[in-house]
């Protein structure tokens, strides 16, 4: 059981590393959200399930699983809220040649 917990925590750490590299290296706000929004959720989920598996069946592990369920529900919601606020604030997306996507007609960017 301990070996499975170590494997799960290391997998969660790998996803944290992926999200951090994406947050530092990608060129655009939307691309950074794309990197961190998913990998952070999965990394937290794997790490918390690994910690609950290390504890064994008790009140502590049940609480850890409740935190995991809560993060699984709220982290994509927070990502969606930030992304929607940035889209309504007209943050310009990154393009390859540096030109904007389309000239200001309509509601989008």
């Amino acid at each position: 059981m301990e070996i499975l917990a170590i494997l799960l925590i290391c997998a969660g750490l790998f996803f944290y590393l992926t999200g951090t590299i994406g947050l530092l290296r990608l060129p655009d706000f939307y691309a950074r959200m794309h990197a961190t929004g998913k990998s952070d959720t999965l990394g937290t989920l794997l790490s918390l399930i690994g910690l609950a598996m290390y504890t064994g069946l008790s009140l502590t592990s049940i609480k850890i699983l409740f935190i995991a369920i809560f993060v699984f529900l709220t982290s994509p919601t927070a990502t969606h809220a930030i992304l929607r606020a940035a889209f309504d604030s007209k943050v310009p997306p990154w393009t390859k040649d540096g030109k904007p996507l389309r000239e200001g007609k309509g509601k989008g960017i």
Binding site: Y16, I67, T79, A81, I82, S89
Partner: protein
Amino acid sequence: MESFFITISIILGLFVLLCLYRVVFGPGLFNRLVGASVIGTKTLTLLLLIGFIYRRPDMFIDISLVYALLNFIVTIAAAKYFQRKGAF
């Protein structure tokens, strides 16, 4: 097993320091908001690991739960507050 938890905590703290670059130097407001949200999610796991290092996870788990709630509410409130044209 404790040395494994200490190693994982140090690596996670290093990731938090790397994410702090985006909070300090990130161009615009929303990059900083994303960095703060990511640091909050990492801190939640770090608090649980600290609880396992000190062999008292039943006390630190409540702190972690409150931190998860606060992180979500802060992110939603800031995103709703800055949702207007030309805020970045």
